[in-house]
């Protein structure tokens, strides 16, 4: 039965929602001696989306990316990338992909110009196009003035920018971007986020491996959370946040003390999970789908004669989602992995 299912999955490029899967993993597993770095990963990534692969360091994100890009071989299972099996047709897979590595891989000698120019040549860009793109991207990542400096003399952030530049020049069909803004300053981060979005708009599917949950939330159409080599959950950031029961919080400060009837009516809302009275006229409401419910709450208080002095809403972050599914903060999870 199992080989049959694998056969069907391998040949199925269109999923139920009629969205084209550009990547589909089938029980993808990688073991390093006793350590299972990636454990039976089953995942489908759609053409043209930014997919955030989240998790603490050591969760298995980079190993998964390296398998999908044919740099390392799976111990078990396989994946279909752009219609090609990573085990059977690795050369075809590599024609479609590009990687921005977590640690910059800059040939360790040479200059940013040499590194990027050679990379563009290998990726098959014509001389004219190559020179144009290398110059453009070096300017975009603020590295033009340093293009003739030896890479080993560059700072960590500069090296990272050159690493990111490689994929921006290449514009692959499928781009694996591993921790793109690590060691980069805030202004640089925003620039790189915009460039990632632009890359997607130009037709690339992007797999963003990161432990920066804010970054993933900001950029990703969908995210998958990995922990200890397993995919715990995978959906849109909004759905994942909404999946935390009572994860949204509304703090309401009323001009006068609320009465029992209003409280009863408030608690009767399907989305409201809990109401905590902090002070007689201060309420903290735990609920879901905050953006839909807040107008109803406002109406309720006004209708019952309780004017609102202030109202503050907060949604759960992906950090909260991570805590919800693992029982650990991302820092705790990282420590747990390190002590394994």
């Amino acid at each position: 039965m199992r080989p049959f299912i694998i056969f069907v999955l391998k040949n199925l490029q269109i999923n139920e929602g009629m969205l084209v899967s550009i990547i589909r993993t089938i029980d993808l597993t990688k073991r390093f001696e006793n350590l299972v770095a990636v454990d039976r990963l089953n995942l489908s990534i759609e053409d043209g989306e930014i997919f955030g692969l989240l998790g603490p360091n050591g969760a298995g994100k980079t190993t998964a990316v390296l398998m999908l890009s044919t740099v390392i071989k799976p111990t078990n299972g396989t994946a279909i990338v752009g219609g090609y099996d990573i085990r059977k047709d690795p050369n075809d897979v590599r024609k479609l992909i590009g990687i921005c590595f977590q640690e910059p891989k800059l040939l360790w000698v040479g200059t940013p110009w040499d590194v990027l120019n050679w990379h563009a040549k290998v990726c098959g860009l014509s001389t004219q196009e190559r020179k144009r793109r290398v110059k453009q991207v070096l300017e975009d990542v603020n590295m033009w003035d340093y293009r003739r400096k030896k890479v080993h003399g560059l700072s960590g952030g500069m090296k990272k920018r050159v690493e990111v530049a490689k994929i921006l020049i290449q514009r692959p069909k499928i781009a694996f971007i591993d921790e793109p803004t690590a060691q980069i300053d805030v202004v640089g981060k925003h620039k790189i986020w915009n460039m990632i979005r632009k890359l997607r708009d130009e037709g690339s599917t992007i797999i963003l491996a990161t432990n920066e949950l804010f970054e993933a939330d900001l950029l990703s159409d969908r995210v998958g959370i990995m922990h200890k080599g397993k995919m715990l959950v995978c959906d849109t950031p909004k759905t994942l946040k909404d999946s935390i029961l009572g994860g949204d919080i509304v703090d309401v400060h009323l001009e006068k003390e609320v009465n029992g009837n209003a409280m009863k009516e408030l608690k009767s809302f399907r989305e409201v999970v809990d109401v905590v009275i902090l002070k007689p006229n201060d309420l903290r409401i735990h609920l879901n789908k905050v953006e839909e419910v807040v107008p109803k709450i406002v109406n309720l208080f006004l209708k019952n004669g309780f004017p609102i002095s202030s109202i503050r809403m907060s949604e759960p972050s992906l950090d909260d989602v991570f805590v919800h599914y693992t029982g650990l903060t991302i820092e705790e999870a990282e420590q747990e992995i390190t002590s394994r």
Binding site: F32, K105, L107
Partner: protein, 262 residues
């Protein structure tokens, strides 16, 4: 992009990298000068006086081959440097097949060793003289194959061991054996006198093939053997080249992957 172009880009990269190793190039040249000026000159005094000059030429030719060998091995060390800096994984992620990658690196390694040894060969030819340019041309063609083969061998061993320390020790031991059990420093007849087992190893040693060919190409071999053309040496080098370049490709296509390097 055509496969040949990709292969040439891999070669180009290795050559560019090599030209940055100015310190190593200078040190190698000093090593050669010391071997010839001290060891070669002094050791040739131990030979009967009428053969002293011939032995000196013989030794100079042998040192050239030793240098060509060690320069071709150097690509293996590069792989460990790259693994340490993560560049190896980058190379494996490029739209280049493993075959093109390994073949390109073998050729790149071979060419760089010729660039390194080129000036030294010129000095050697100045010392030894040149009897027959055609012979030298044939010998050079075979030595190119020898250099590619040694680079291929070095890459194969590096990929199989995946440990910089082990590779270093292994290549040290291999160097001791492969150089000493060859005719780089002494003629085969003396190896034969010392031990038949040594002679058997020496006879089928790629360094012996390369040394004999270079000496034949420069004309020194006429003092030692009457062979019109050392066919056995040429065939030996061709087999060596094919083994480590093409059969080797199959091995590392299966074993090559990122990660696990020490």
């Amino acid at each position: 992009m055509k496969e040949t172009k990709k292969l040439l880009l891999v070669v180009e990269r290795d050559l560019r990298m090599f030209l940055q190793y100015k310190f190593i190039i200078i040190m190698r040249a000093i090593w050669f000068a010391a071997q010839v000026a001290f060891f070669g000159l002094i050791a040739s005094r131990m030979v009967v006086p009428e053969l002293a000059d011939i032995y000196f030429e013989f030794y100079v030719a042998g040192v050239v081959i030793m240098m060509l060998y060690s320069a071709s091995v150097f690509i293996g060390y590069d792989i460990f440097e790259e693994a340490e800096h993560g560049v190896f994984e980058y190379l494996l992620s490029l739209p280049v097949s493993r075959k093109e990658l390994v073949l390109g690196r073998s050729i790149g390694g071979g060419i760089r060793s010729f660039i390194l040894v080129g000036p030294i060969i010129a000095i050697a030819l100045f010392v030894i003289g040149l009897a027959n340019p055609l012979n030298l041309l044939i010998a050079f063609s075979a030595l190119f194959l020898f250099a590619f083969g040694v680079s291929g061998m070095s890459i194969t061993i590096a990929v199989m061991l995946k440990s910089g320390d082990r590779f270093d020790i292994f290549m040290g031991v291999l160097n001791a054996l492969i150089v000493r059990l060859s005719t780089t420093m002494y003629p085969q007849v003396f190896v034969q006198d010392a031990s038949k087992v040594y002679a058997a190893f020496s006879e089928f040693n790629p360094l012996t093939f390369a040394s004999d060919l270079f000496r034949w190409g420069t004309g020194i071999e006429r003092y030692l053997t009457m062979d019109p053309m050392p066919l056995a040496a040429i065939i030996g080098i061709v087999i060596f080249f094919f083994t480590f370049t093409f059969v080797g490709v199959t091995i590392y296509e299966k074993r090559l992957e990122g990660g696990g390097w020490q």
